[in-house]
């Protein structure tokens, strides 16, 4: 399947994402060339926020439409319901987080709740981050489990390979360090364990579970490689993998483990996460639309 034969919604998402990343690259180049932070900060604050909210809206609308394609009793109906609610949580979360955002600063954009925020953040901003992060991920995990079970029932479940286990091992090591740093930060400042901070602590273990599910799903989806259904679940798998990368980048920024030039690309990972999450239901919807169009030659192949 080439770019021209991709579903229109996927091409649209891909095109918007590429344009957005190009704009980010220009803003970054201006910063490097002139030392002026104005462009990159405005890019993250306005263009970045608009992009993330816009794609979350597209993701939510596409997910709900995909859910409506299923009837009561269908195996994946509950999964798409959970995905739709998760997408809605991401949308509401991003809207709240961006409206009440204190601005990105030089630590990059914040798109997920963390136990140790480095700036004083408003409650609504933190609620937004919790909704878009741990709450959405908590809804996504059982949805992916249902999809994995569906593949399994057809004898199409994927076996994890050595590289998958290696990725899980590395991610586990880094995530444990992330959690440990969060605990140290909390203890050092005697910060109370409120709801949002508690949800921040849930993110790392949850992401590890999701990474395992995503890797398994990716292997299973490979049995349908090249098809719209396989691409749908591969997109979700990629979204989870990129979320893990983004979280690790955010951790490295917060605790100063990596120099800024190495960390800056992880800021842009969040935009790819949004794109991948929106492409998943777009592929599913295209599959449903094709069936609706029937088998007439005009539907093309």
């Amino acid at each position: 399947m080439t770019w021209r034969t991709q579903p229109a919604a996927v091409r649209w998402i891909g095109g918007v994402t590429a344009s957005h990343l190009l704009a980010g690259g220009i803003a970054l180049a201006v910063w490097v060339a002139t030392g002026s932070l104005l462009w990159i900060l405005n890019y993250l604050r306005y263009a970045g926020a608009a992009f993330v909210v816009g794609l979350a809206l597209a993701e939510a609308l596409l997910s709900v439409r995909a859910f409506l394609g299923f009837s009561r009793g269908d195996a994946l109906r509950p999964a798409w319901l959970l995905i739709s609610v998760a997408a809605s949580a991401r949308l509401v979360g991003f809207v709240l987080a961006e409206i009440f955002s204190p601005g990105p600063g030089l630590t990059g954009p914040r798109f997920i709740a963390q136990p140790a925020p480095w700036l004083p953040l408003s409650t609504l901003h933190r609620a937004g981050l919790a909704l878009a992060g741990p709450v959405a991920l908590l809804l996504l995990s059982p949805a992916l489990a249902l999809v994995g079970r569906a593949y399994d029932r057809h004898g199409l479940s994927g076996e994890l390979r050595v590289t998958d286990w290696l990725a899980l091992g590395v991610a586990s090591f880094l995530m444990v360090n992330d959690t440990w740093d969060g605990i140290r930060w909390t203890l050092a400042r005697e910060a109370p364990l409120d709801l949002y901070r508690a949800l921040g602590f849930v993110v790392d273990p949850l992401l590890l579970v999701l990474l395992f599910q995503a890797l398994t799903l990716r292997r299973a989806a490979q049995t349908m490689a090249g098809g719209l259904i396989g691409r749908c679940w591969s997109a979700y798998s990629a979204a989870v993998f990129l979320t893990v990368l983004g979280c690790l980048g955010q951790w490295a920024v917060n605790y100063g483990y990596l120099p800024r030039p190495v960390v800056i690309p992880t800021w842009f990972v969040w935009f790819l996460v949004s794109a991948a999450f929106a492409m998943g239901p777009a592929y599913q919807l295209e599959a449903l639309h094709r069936v609706r169009r029937g088998l007439l030659p005009s539907s093309g192949t």
Partner: protein
């Protein structure tokens, strides 16, 4: 027709594994064959052309299944080419997978489109 298809999908769903469904699929194939032949006039000329027309629709259906199911479609459509009624065999083989991943309504819609096309071609 909807109820009948629902029963077919249910029957296929009860089998534990993909291979285990083969026996159920044989039954489905017979049922779908009977279903399709209900509305088709059985003249000698139509009967003679029927296998050719079936294969034409089968090619289109196989292409559609490849778009939906990717690599898996090869497993579901290739053995069907060897039998007399490839459209029905493909629908029987792919019906359960499509019903799971695209929903029951979509699976029915695709099967109806394939069977309608087969029926209309047979009458020409």
């Amino acid at each position: 027709m909807r109820e009948q298809w629902h029963q077919l999908v249910q029957a296929a769903a009860q089998a534990d594994s993909f291979r285990g469904r083969e026996a159920v699929l044989e039954e489905i194939l017979a049922l779908v064959e009977a279903w399709d032949s209900e509305g088709t006039p059985a003249t000698g000329r139509c009967n003679a052309r029927r296998p050719v027309l079936h294969r034409a629709v089968a090619r289109r259906l196989a292409a559609e299944l490849e778009v939906q199911l990717g690599r898996l479609a090869a497993d579901l459509t290739q053995p069907a080419r060897a039998v007399e009624a490839p459209v029905h065999a493909m629908l029987a083989r792919s019906g359960h997978v499509l019903s799971t991943f695209l929903g029951y309504r979509a699976a029915v819609r695709l099967s109806q489109a394939a069977l309608r096309l087969t029926g209309s071609l047979s009458k020409r």
